[in-house]
Amino acid sequence: MNAWRDTAVRLVLLVASLALWEAAVRALRVPAFILPPPSEIGAALYRGALTGIYVRNLWITLAETLLGFSLGSVVAFVLGTALAASRRTEYFLYPYIVMFQSMPKVALAPLIVVWFGLGLTSKVVSAALIAFFPLLVNTIVGLRSADEERIDLMRSLAASELQIFRMLRLPSALPFIMAGLEVAMVFSLVGAIVAEFVGAEAGLGMLIQSRNYSMDVAGEFAILFILAVMGLVLNTILVSIRRRVLFWDASQKAASTGASLRGGP
């Protein structure tokens, strides 16, 4: 079967590239504190798995990410709806939003840690702040994307503004909102990690930094690997939700393979 063969080719490619990495690092005698071979990273993963240190910190970073994602998304959706509903609100608020958006939010992380402390709160706030903008913009654009003729149809049926919102504008905005949520999920993980870098008592970002100080580069790579898997799993969950919710969307039917790749903030 073709699918089986493709999967086999994928696996072979993965194993081959890992073997090449291992061989190159050993042949060129690259010091382990610059680039460790995959075998050492694997060993570091195994050791950490035994002590439970990864799992403990993973839950913390995951909680920060998901809480920040939820907070940022809810605020972005509510504010985006308010801005889309009223040109006046948009007129007064949008300049601040654009200004705030063009600022690199990670630069705020030190301030956020000063304001909200070393615990969970500062990480959630940082994650929420970064996750906020992509969804805000997409919510506004999405809610305004409803087709004029469809609005005319709803009006001709004497529908109320609330009905037009619920039955037409919101479903029309869903493709935009789902795309915004996917970006927001990736961004909130970034926000949580950055805040952990600045100051934290726990979490995978904190762990990366403490390993960096002790020159445990293989250990750092092990955590990077865990973070990559975590990001992938979160994205996969959102993609499968999107497929279920947006079964009717044309762009959905055209491109339904693989997770989308997007840059960080």
Partner: protein, 260 residues
């Protein structure tokens, strides 16, 4: 003369648009009546104001002067007893065919149970029985427009407004749907105002054709079509049909944009 059997009475209608370069008169002194169960067509070139007229009839646009009365009540805004079919089907892709048909029922918070069997009967009438749980994007353009017609009929409107409903379809599908619309009308005797830029289509379908000339939009002539129904597509070759078409076309000698 607004008789008791008149469903629609349009009187002295004028519509002016304000543009940056001054005001434009889209409709001037438009007046007509439509009787209960009558099929009326309004034919004219693009830009003659017929879509503006339809929007005023649908309550989507206010008139600058004059009034439209539906069953002797002035139309001042959208009403629940009007069904509209637009040029494109305007279906919601996230709703099944049945749910699309039931949209007016949902908007007007009518009872869904009774309406569902009505919707299914109507779908059977337009030949879409068995497609009720499909999605619009699984249907052809002609089938989608049939769904739109069904949706416009589901809440039992006092009149049906159709704005070039078959204008975006290919000629063969258009012929088929004209026949189908005639069949539906013969069976249900809805009051229909049908807007088109095709003279043969107007003559084929209507009891009376209002000829609309542009700049400003005005009804130049009212032409009765005393041809017995059911009419067949072969009618296009009949002399009495050709005479009426020619008489209407005479209004547009100098203007373009009308299919003859």
């Amino acid at each position: 003369m607004a008789g008791i059997a008149d469903v629609i009475a349009v009187k002295d209608l004028r519509k002016e648009y304000q543009t940056p370069r001054g005001s434009v008169v889209a409709l001037e002194d438009v007046g007509f009546t439509v009787r209960e169960g009558e099929f009326v067509a309004i034919v004219g070139p693009s830009g003659c104001g017929k879509s503006t007229l339809l929007k005023i009839l649908a309550g989507l646009l206010p008139a600058t002067r004059g009034e439209v009365r539906l069953r002797d009540v002035a139309i001042t805004g959208p009403r629940r007893d009007i069904g509209v079919v637009f040029q494109s089907p305007v279906l919601f892709p996230w709703r099944t065919v049945l749910d699309n048909v039931l949209l007016p029922v949902d908007v007007q918070r009518l009872e869904r149970n009774g309406s569902t069997s009505r919707a299914l009967d109507l779908l059977a009438l337009v030949g879409l029985r068995g497609f009720e749980h499909r999605y619009p994007w699984e249907l052809s353009g002609g089938m989608q427009q049939r769904v739109a017609i069904t949706r416009a009929l589901v809440h039992n409107p006092a009149m049906l407004l159709m704005d070039e409903p078959f204008g975006a379809l290919d000629a063969m599908t258009r012929d088929a749907l004209n026949l189908e619309l005639q069949r539906i009308w013969l069976e249900r005797r809805e009051t229909i105002v049908f807007i088109t830029h095709s003279i043969p289509e107007a003559v084929f379908l209507a009891d009376r054709v209002f000829v609309m000339t542009p700049r400003p939009g005005h009804i130049a002539e009212e032409v009765a079509v005393p041809i017995a129904r059911p009419r067949s597509l072969d009618l296009a070759a009949a002399p009495e049909f050709a005479d009426i078409v020619r008489r209407i076309r005479a209004h547009f000698r100098s203007t373009s944009g009308v299919d003859a």
